[in-house]
Assembly symmetry: C2
Homo-oligomer: 193 residues x 2
């Protein structure tokens, strides 16, 4: 199958689950869904582009990678976090996502120190790919956008890393907003536009 070559941006949001209630279409970022009179986002459909949703207004808190498809309920986009806030109130496009050209270097320690690994594919289990730890200390994104997950198989907290944010340099877990407050990362994949 071929991926779509023209990148447009559209996400359709409802305030209730299962595509019910008030509805709004977006073609750009939403800083705070409350500005439209929505209490929360109950369901949505990503029509085009790749997006990242956030627990709090202003792109703060838990992160949720949103690629094309239908998301009828919280469970559909939340991953499997012990911490179930059940809120997503802001979102923005991931402009630099480029599935065919994504490159990243991972480092054993913070500040780009220690052993390193070069990534250009998807890694559902970093240990199975030869990475000797269940942590990654720092990241340098050379191209594209990536999502790192706490547990194998893309489970647990998600952290989006983009080549055009922070010049692609994520030196410490505080810089990628680790909710677990650790460097635990056991799966990494490219984000699909």
């Amino acid at each position: 199958m071929q991926s779509v070559s023209v990148v447009s941006l559209q996400i359709v949001v409802w305030d209730k689950g299962s595509f019910q209630g008030r509805r709004h279409e977006f073609t750009a970022e939403c800083y705070n869904i409350a500005a439209l009179g929505f209490n929360n986002i109950g369901s949505f459909r990503v029509e085009s582009g790749a997006w990242v949703g956030f627990e709090h207004l202003g792109f703060q808190g838990q992160q949720f990678v949103l690629e094309r498809g239908e998301y009828p309920s919280w469970e559909a986009w939340s991953g499997s976090n012990a911490y179930r806030a059940e809120r997503m109130v802001s979102f923005r496009p991931i402009a630099c996502a480029n599935h065919r050209d994504s490159k990243m270097t991972i480092y054993e320690q913070e500040n780009f120190l220690g052993r390193k690994g070069e990534l250009s594919d998807d890694y559902p289990s970093l240990p199975a790919m030869g990475w000797a730890s269940n942590e990654v200390g720092s990241f340098r994104v050379h191209s594209g956008a990536w999502v790192c997950s706490q547990f194998p198989g893309y489970r647990g907290f998600q952290y989006v890393m983009e080549c055009d944010c922070r010049a692609g340099a994520y030196k410490h877990f505080r810089e990628w907003g680790s909710h677990a407050q650790t460097s635990q990362v056991q799966s990494i994949r490219r984000i699909q536009q």
Copy 2:
């Protein structure tokens, strides 16, 4: 990074979370963890091989793909299902998982009818890859083992499909044990040994 070429099988299981309590090592399938006096599995570490865990004894109920890494709690392996049984009591190796040689054909309708797509890579969003539906009617696995997920980004219920089960032919959602009782599949990836 190179994947490991010698396939061995080992999973270490604890009856409490965070690798606490009673501990047991397995190098083959476990039909029922209760036979060892465990009430449930609280945490585990996959040392080698790819495995699939099940909610019920005898490899029945919800499926959980388990690749190399550490899983300290239910959230680490469950995906993000609305249906939170919080039980995993049997598991078995996925012998035919082969990340480098995995091929599958997906069909729009059951019984291998309608439009089709040939897969040999990972697809976090089938719609973004050009598949025009949020459902897949039937699957034919030619090589390797795959995990299909209900929602984009490998979220929601998981269904394992293997070339050496049912001769790789999954004609209808009943044959892949769909918990959602639908053909909804929005992401598909190869399983990593």
